[in-house]
């Protein structure tokens, strides 16, 4: 490739030797020209000159001095465009990370007047970093690419991308647009800085960055010089690409874009089909990779069990993804990124087409659409006059299985991949070695890709290694596998066959020849395997074994003759009925009749209650702790909700209908919590209860990092003394912040002054001061609890709930006086110093003092039997049974300010109901069904049926995989990857040295 035929040398560059400027005028005649996915012209001519297309069509006048190439039978397409490339970019060294073994790095180590966080690098300019790489360019041209959008894949804000061609020349020539795009991701890349250490921290950092850039533009630059913000403002308006890599990250990215009026173009992960409705709602254009997992080796049934249904199903459905995205009318471009082996691109694309991706969409996804996404559709992506001469010449339809790309022209410069003038040597030849008959040589396949076979005595078939180039042929083969010697033949096309010289394994030099006996022998190809069915199993929601093909529907139901724990003044009603309509409880009473269209459920001998509300949960989350700073009030757990978490289903099976998802306890001021209803299969936004505005605080050993090892002695605070000052500092600043905004907003001439800097951390704290956001504070010992109550008193904010509150019994009077609730464990203690004085009578003592008490789990396992935990308050301290039951239902609803909707069986409230086969406080009790807003999401009988149908579906997939193995396709060893189970104390990058059962749970 180094020997370019001619050069569009740079005007300003001196030359070594004589100038060699040429017109580069070529006419390609008699070709099938696919001008764009919708326009194909047969027998047409393409005329190019000086790297640009002059004319395309049937009636093209070819000027004198044009090199004319006859392309009869061949096709011309615009060359392909890749939008997610790191071609020519410096290699990114990932930060040595994880394990919590290194000292926290709180500040950026980047030199210069840049922003505070290393992962925000808007100043990174791909066009300056760009250095063409001849080998990689050749590999990409081989696939058919002509133009790439390149950017440095490093950090959360990755600066601007550059649109470059694969000319094989200097960057000066290759770059089409040096500021083509802006790039974002959720990955910190090479940043060694501690913050952000979580998914929601990344979102918060990016949001804050948008606000900071806005402030900078509006006058902040008068206060500080910040090249990062300056650069950010410059790239902000460019087409913006977000690397998301999975379905929920796509939704998360789009939500950020919505806040700032930006529609990102989002790179997905190939699992979009699993949440196609929600992804379509984003209105985002996607970049789709074509990455399909190999089959698992499932021959051993016990080994195979580790592979989950979702892995099995994704293996089957991944090739259907692009087709599903196309069917949903979601605009998308295709990308090779994510492929371990880029040469798999065509194989996978053809598979996607077999699974229903229309060819026209595929072509558009590689040409016109990416061109328009980078606003270059006036230059690339189609073959209209005036466009760049970036095209490929193919042997046939681009997507057909035996298509060959002959040439890839970039800016009017030719790169040969497979010679156009390859002779057609297909046929059967009689082979002779040393003038002795030696069997037959059969050449099949296509003229461009001939396939060779030597047949000896009609039975032994040998596939030699063969190369044919410029009429020279080389064949090497082992005549006899046992003796193992290799025969080497070299020769040339000669009349009706080949002749030349060979060397036998013993070193004897011999003449050889192959004489054509039958031209174009149509020897039965090995393609006898019948085309495999492209049928797949159903897509289920959520995409795990226990997911549903169709989501359960909201019902109209009469539950008759049950023992109803109302949690209201009526107490426990015997032989009573409840009517559920439109997701609400509409009637509670006796002798009720079923509304029309409804069904009756017999509750005889059963107990009906409102659903359990877990006040302290970490299920259904992708990450838990933003431990990078002592306050992370800016992060939102709603950004990292994982609707696929099996624990949602497991907890429904334990009677839980809602969970309060908290940030961890890594820092004094944690993040904004999210309350979800356990609507198994629904989307994130359908699950989250938006009116619950809460935030996690934490005290004690975790926030002072007592148990994280000796390297964690950097971040303030390290003592309970320091914790108090964190609160004073942050709330004083928040108060001041709120005042500044109030003054600004009241100022009649505010257009003329610099607005205060929007700070999303202080926003959350100001909401607390304004009594709009409620604190749940992780707490253990009385000194620190007392401290926070006093801080709150003096700064006039309210603490809503102390959670864990294992020494609440020591200060129950103080809590009661201030109206602070206590959400505790039934009986946990002894796993660390600060729980030494925890007692199981805690709930009873707080209850008797008039505190609103909840029993919570902080644990995916305990949450599914919170009814048992509540019952322990009867054992320890004699709480009346009805009151004990309220501790997992009505009381958490009160603490979350949703008692008007949840927590009791009362007309008008949400129909979040559980039917138990015995008293809910009995150890022998279990739910018959669990209903959320009128929809039954867990039903014991259906669960049993589901287990059976899962076995059948699993076996079907396993049989299909075994088929792949028999066919010799690559397989991978069985393995499963699953998100970590979260507890309060789990810190990204921090592992306690002495993780141990009780301790690890971090309560």
């Amino acid at each position: 490739m180094a020997l370019a035929v001619y050069c569009h040398a740079q005007e300003t560059f001196p030359r070594n030797g004589a100038y060699d400027e040429r017109t580069g005028r070529y006419a390609f005649t008699n070709a099938t020209i696919v001008v764009d996915p919708k326009t194909t012209i047969e027998n047409a001519t393409l005329l190019i000159e000086d790297g640009v297309i002059r004319e395309t069509g049937k009636q093209v006048k070819i000027p004198a001095g044009t090199v004319t190439i006859d392309l009869k039978g061949k096709f011309i397409y615009a060359s392909l465009i890749e939008l997610d490339s790191d071609y020519g970019m410096p290699e990114v060294r990932r930060a040595q990370g994880g394990g919590g073994r290194q000292t926290p790095q709180l500040e950026s180590n980047k030199k210069g007047a840049f922003g505070w966080n290393q992962a925000i690098q808007p100043e990174m300019d791909a066009s300056i970093l760009f250095t063409p790489d001849a080998q990689k360019a050749a590999d990409l041209r081989k696939i058919g690419f002509g133009t790439l959008l390149v950017h440095a894949h490093d950090g959360i804000v990755r600066g601007n991308g550059a649109l470059v061609t694969l000319t094989g020349e200097l960057a000066n020539k290759a770059i089409l647009n040096s500021k083509a795009s802006a790039h974002f991701s959720f990955s910190k890349g090479s940043s060694s800085q501690t913050y952000p250490s979580s998914g929601m921290g990344v979102v918060a950092l990016l949001r804050q960055n948008y606000y900071d850039a806005d402030w900078y533009a509006k006058g902040g630059k008068q206060k500080e010089t910040n090249f990062s913000l300056e650069a950010f403002n410059q790239i902000k308006g460019l087409p913006s690409f977000f690397e998301a890599n999975d379905k929920y990250s796509i939704l998360r990215a789009d939500k950020i874009g919505d806040e700032f009026g930006i529609q990102y173009i989002i790179r997905g992960g190939g699992d979009e089909y699993q949440r196609i409705r929600e992804i379509k709602e984003t209105k985002a254009t996607l970049l789709l990779p074509l990455v399909f997992p190999d089959a698992y080796d499932v021959s051993d049934p016990w080994d195979a069990e580790v592979v989950t249904m979702s892995q099995l199903k994704h293996w089957e459905l991944a090739p259907r993804n692009a087709s599903e995205v196309a069917k949903a009318e979601i605009p998308f471009a295709l990308t090779t990124s994510g492929l371990k082996n880029k040469s798999d691109f065509w194989k996978n694309l053809r598979t996607a087409i077999e699974y229903g991706l229309p060819k026209e969409r595929a072509l558009a996804a590689l040409t016109t659409l990416p061109a328009s996404l980078v606003k270059a559709d006036n230059k690339i992506g189609s073959l209209k006059p005036g466009m760049l001469a970036n095209f490929i010449i193919t042997s046939g339809d681009l997507f057909s299985k035996d298509n060959v790309i002959h040439e890839n022209w970039v800016l009017g410069k030719k790169f040969v991949l497979t010679a156009l003038d390859a002779p057609d040597v297909r046929g059967t030849y009689s082979l002779s070695l040393n003038n002795q008959p030696a069997g037959k040589l059969q050449i099949t396949g296509s003229p461009e890709k001939p396939e060779y076979k030597i047949v000896v005595q009609d039975s032994i078939k040998i596939t030699p290694k063969a190369t044919l180039a410029n009429a020279l042929l080389t064949l090497t083969y082992q005549q006899d596998k046992k003796t193992g010697g290799t025969t080497r033949l070299t020769g040339w096309l000669s009349g009706n066959g080949f002749m030349g010289e060979g060397v036998l394994p013993n070193g004897t030099v011999i003449p050889w020849s192959a004489v054509l006996t039958e031209k174009n022998a149509t020897i039965a190809a090995a393609d006898t395997a019948k085309p495999k069915s492209k049928e797949t199993g159903p897509i289920v929601y959520p995409f795990v074994g226990y997911g549903n093909e169709t989501l359960p529907a909201r019902e109209t139901v009469l539950i008759k003759n049950a023992t109803i724990w109302t949690n209201e003044k009526e107490g426990i009603l015997q032989n009573a009925d409840v009517i559920v309509q439109n997701g609400k409880i509409t009637k509670v009473g006796k002798g009720l009749t079923v509304p029309s269209g409804g069904r009756t459920i017999d509750g005889t001998g059963k107990h009906l209650t409102s659903g359990i509300i877990d006040e302290h949960s970490h299920i259904a989350l992708f990450s838990i702790n933003e431990g990078g700073q002592s306050s992370s009030a800016e992060v939102r757990m709603s950004d990292v909700v994982n609707p696929d978490d099996i624990n949602i289903y497991r907890q429904l099976a334990g009677g839980v209908t809602a969970s309060h998802l908290l940030h961890g306890s890594a820092n004094s001021i944690g993040g904004q919590s999210a309350m979800i209803k356990l609507k198994w299969g629904a989307s994130q936004s359908e699950m989250v209860v938006p009116e619950v505005k809460t935030i996690k605080f934490a005290l004690g050993e975790n926030v002072k990092q007592s148990n994280w090892g000796d390297v964690q002695r950097v971040r303030f605070p390290q003592t309970r003394m320091g914790v108090e000052q964190i609160y004073f500092d942050h709330f004083l600043r928040a108060r001041d912040y709120a005042t500044r905004w109030k003054n600004y907003n009241a100022n009649a001439k505010k257009q003329n002054i610099v607005p205060p800097r929007r700070d999303i951390e202080l926003d959350a704290l100001a909401e607390i001061l304004g009594n709009e956001r409620f604190i749940t504070c992780h707490s253990y010992v009385q000194s620190e609890i007392n401290m926070l109550m006093h801080v709150a008193d003096s700064l006039k904010f309210r603490i809503n709930t102390f959670t864990h509150i294992l020494e609440g019994y020591k200060l129950a009077d103080g809590m009661q006086k201030r109206g602070i609730g206590g959400s505790t464990f039934a009986d946990w203690w002894a796993y660390k110093m600060e729980v030494k004085e925890a007692i199981p009578y805690n709930a009873a003592l707080m209850y008797h003092e008039g505190v609103t008490v909840a029993i919570n789990s902080d644990d995916a396992e305990m949450a599914r039997r919170l009814n048992q935990e509540a019952a322990k308050t009867v054992e320890y301290g004699g709480v009346p049974e009805e009151e004990a039951w309220k501790m997992v239902t009505l009381n958490p609803a009160k603490l979350l300010h949703v008692e008007d909707r949840m927590g009791s069986v009362k007309a008008g409230k949400d129909a979040d109901l559980v039917l138990w086969n015995a008293s809910p406080l009995s150890v022998y009790s279990r739910p018959d069904f669990t209903m959320v807003e009128g929809t039954i999401y867990f039903d014991r009988k259906k669960d049993e049926e589901k287990q059976k149908s899962m076995l059948i579906e699993r076996e079907r997939l396993i049989q299909k995989m075994l088929g792949e193995k028999v066919e010799g396709k690559p397989t991978q060893k069985p393995e499963a990857t699953m998100p970590r189970m979260w507890h309060c104390e789990d810190i990204v990058g921090i592992h306690a040295e002495h993780i141990h059962v009780g301790y690890e749970t971090g309560k």
Binding site: Y831, Y847, V874, V997, G998
Partner: protein, 434 residues
Amino acid sequence: MKRYKLIAGLLLGLTTGVQAQNPAPAKPQTKPIVLTGATIHIGNGEVVQNGTIAFDKGIITQVGVAGTVTAPAGAETIDVKGKHIFPGIISLNTTVGLQEIASVRATLDYREVGEINPHVRALVAYNTDSEVIPTLRGNGVLVSQAVPQGGAISGSSSVFYSDGWNWEDAVLKKDDGIWISWPPFLAGTFDNETFTYTIKRNDKRQETIDLFKQTFAEARAYAEIANPSPVNLRLAAMKPLFDGTTNLYIRADYAKDIIESIRFAKEAGVKKIVIAGGNESYKVTTFLKENDVPVIVNTTHRLPDGVDENVYMPYELPGLLHKAGVKVAVTYADEWWRTRNLGFLAGTASGFGNVTPEEALQFVTRNAADIIGAGQQVGTLEKGKQASLLVSDGDILDMRGNVVQMVFIRGGKVNLDDKQKRLYNKYKEKYKTK
């Protein structure tokens, strides 16, 4: 709301004043005791309504329906009408007495360094002054097995009563078995980048299996020598495995591990084998039954093993084994303070599995006693066994019923005070006097 329901006033007169230490252990039984009018859960499936139980010198002398039992001369008769009497709960596979505060290294005595530690003994590290122990007997856990953890061969366990001046007099069974950890068939690796676990075939396990093979072969040979010199403490400690005097406890969860490890132990000449863990033991019940190997199931209050597993599988597991004819005990694994909830694991096994509460009770009493080879002393309330029992307001497998009023260990009446009750009483005073 200022109502206080005393725990039936039986807080042993300690409602005032705060005692800093655990109470003194029970005095030996000096006269016969007769408990009358209770529902007696024998522990073998039988229930005696309106029953009477008599014991003397620490041994049960009579059990039966009231009226059929005659009080011996000089007996103290206690009316426990309406109450329930149960054999003491036996908690196997714990670190009770070996750890106090998990996050404080100085209080941890259950894990020795090295891979081959058959010679280290839980016996001598067992701390009878642990503040956790009194809270266990308060919930009916009267016997705990303290088990060394870690390494390939962790050490030797001993079984203790939840009462005693020191390990010497608290011990029920010394050095009852050696614990090994079979290398798991599948192993997890943690990726800090994505914060996910990947579980796959454990390629490094053969090394450990070979180590076991060699060690057991050499230990067996060593056991044949009458007076070995020099003495090898490690191999000497393994000798009782080969004559059937102690158990070999094998920690194994996967079906393949269970089969492989039992076959290994049999071939190595081990006489008594117990599987501890056994998450997948329900898949190999035929094999377990054929080989007469019992299973100590680790805490069933755990999540299922995989996302596709039956959500109730851990709860159902003990019942599945029991119904298949495999002897099963339920435990909390290496936990300590949580073992006071052991009765509730059995209750859950009944509520979610196909077994009655009386069957489930055996998972934490009789079966556990049989497994440790103490079936003649504890585990049921049959004549001739030790009077290690409790009186409860109700069903001890249910949280609401587990209100323990009296505990007798070897006939001695145990003081049920503990640190948590003292704190409870202290703060009740605070609010009463306000």
